[in-house]
């Protein structure tokens, strides 16, 4: 698997899902609300982005040169992927003490949040065994949406399809539960975790269950389309090309 694309997916989709985990889960929010910190993940030849904990919220954004508390330098996308997999520690070039406190051991807030979120997303259960099926699907939905933007930008095949997505916004929805927007503007793809105000096309999962079954490959999209459980409408060339990117996403998220 191309490690550079995987690194971007890991940062914006895997770590990026923390945004929604903290928003949707009260236990996670309680942990996050005690943090007020900006961490720069600076990956050579990979993502250079910020993880921001502020006012009980989390944001994962590209580095906008703001002041940071921790600056982590990671020598390669491959090494960053190992960090995300818990196989390596990044090198802090600023904020060693804060790094140790924030993510230095299994009881550090970053570790607790990512381990709990990872368990929920992988198994549908918390580390203590509590069922969290709906939250698991919703987090997987947001991770999938975030990954679309990265795979459509960096994957060798994905970027061909990504380049052909016409300008505009695609609304990605689980009805009444989750909203994300894929934006193509000035030739660039991005994803935000909010409802589109001016969508040109729609991909709508009727329920969390349908979204979960589709994301996990338990049912096929065509069956859902014909049953009306998955609705695609609007400017179809956006969705045709988005779907080609979507086909590639699972290999980066698995």
């Amino acid at each position: 698997m191309p490690v550079k694309t995987k690194a971007f997916v890991n940062f914006y989709a895997a770590i990026g899902a923390l945004e929604k985990f903290v928003e949707l889960d009260s236990q996670a929010q309680a942990i996050a609300s005690r943090q007020n910190i900006t961490v720069r993940f600076n990956v050579k030849d990979g993502p250079d982005g910020l993880l921001i904990f502020s006012d009980g919220k989390v944001a994962v954004i590209p580095n906008d040169k703001r002041k940071t508390d921790i600056h982590l330098y990671i020598a390669s996308p491959s090494q960053f992927n190992d960090v995300v997999d818990g196989k390596a520690m990044p090198l802090p070039i600023k904020g060693l003490g804060k790094t140790l406190k924030f993510m230095g051991n299994p009881s550090s807030p970053f570790s607790v949040l990512t381990n709990e979120m990872g368990a929920i997303m992988r198994t549908g259960k918390r580390l203590d065994g509590t069922e969290e099926t709906e939250l698991s699907t919703i987090l997987a939905f947001y991770a999938m949406c975030a990954a679309l933007g990265q795979v459509g930008t960096y994957d060798e095949i994905g970027k061909i399809a990504g380049a052909r997505i016409p300008e505009g916004e695609v609304s990605l929805e689980i009805t009444d539960k989750a909203y994300a927007t894929l934006i193509k503007k000035d030739g660039k793809l991005s994803v935000v975790f909010k409802k589109s105000e001016n969508p040109r096309a729609f991909m709508i999962f009727s329920t969390v269950e349908v979204a979960g079954d589709l994301i996990n490959g338990r049912i096929d999209a065509m069956t859902c389309l014909s049953k009306g459980e998955l609705l695609m409408k609007g400017y179809i060339p956006m969705l045709d090309n988005l779907n080609k990117v979507l086909n590639i996403v699972p290999k980066y998220l698995s």
Binding site: I160, P199, M222, S226, G234
Partner: protein, 418 residues
Amino acid sequence: MKTYSYTKNRELMARAGKFIPNGVYGHLGPAEGCMIPPSAFPFFAERAEGSLIWDADGNRFIDYMCGYGPNVLGYCDPDVDAAAEAQMKKGNCVSIPGSIMVEFAELLTHTVKKDWAFFAKNGGDVTTLSIMASRYYTGKKKIIFTNGYYHGVAPWTQKPDSPGTIPEDCQNSIYIDFNDIGQLKQAIEEHKGEIACFISTPYMHGNFLDNVLPAEGYWQEVRRLCTENGIILIIDDIRAGFRLNIAGSDIHYGIEADLICFCKALANGYNVSALCGKEFLKSAVGGIMYTGSYWMSAVPFAAGIANINKLIANDACAYFHKIATRLTDGFAKIAKERGVNLTISGEPALFYLMIKDDKSLLLHQEWIAECVKRGVFLTNHHNHFVNLSLTPELVDQTLEICDEAMGVMVKNNPQVYR
């Protein structure tokens, strides 16, 4: 007007999905953007006759897709079916071809003013053969396409991001815009001595855009450039063939292609396609081992002969233009009266519709859905077709239904239509 429900259609799709990929795969299924929302559309036909189809629930539709082209005389045309039935009694798929193949080749080549005909089954069979023959004859690799093209589903027709395609399948593809002679000249200059062929539909009848007719002198200039540079000129007439001109769309637009591909309207639904060409390419095509189990079945040849003779006898292309113009003029009138910006493009016999009051095309999709639910089978984003059995009375019924459907769409969108 009562709208349709599709209980049996949905039950059948649920069964189909268990045993057939996608339930209904490809362009006849709900996944290819022609049926939005799928809930408005039938999925399975029970029977068809003339310009009408009845779905699995017994709903009746006036059909403007014509099987996506093959229905050119009318479903279950008695003359074509009688010819096919007579041939079936004599033999169909036999160890040697039926003698009727020769008769069909003579009639077809005479009709389309070409020197030879090679028969296969589907459009993609013969577009692929046209590329192989061009490469074999010229010894060159590259293919010039016009953007928005559709020449089938073989890997050479795809883009590298299409599932099942690899980048190497597309590395000899050059893409230019239809009607742009400057781009064609530039492509020839940049790839001098490398281009085997230029393949194009006779006009741009792609999806999600207004269909574009050839500019004055365009085809003549393409013909000249191809001849001067040793590039084989291929017309993909699979969709438009026998609907604009019985002699083929190259003749319709005043040129002669080196190779021309026919399929859809060739035998009124019986499965046969043909590559026709000029004498100088005959031995090249003969030198390629290219065949299939059913390609010389006799029944479709008999159907093809009856079909072409009936098209000629009824001056069908003139009728298509006349009846389709009655329909499209009616659409334009309805839209104007309701304040809807409906564009009708392409040749009338293959008219393309698009409401342009929003960038998302949702309004267009909503109108089409309301038409279908009331018994006019249109699709969202594909050109439509007419056939010889379409009567003025059916056209007028169509317009009445589509007017009501447009009224519903307008009423549902007061933010757009104040």
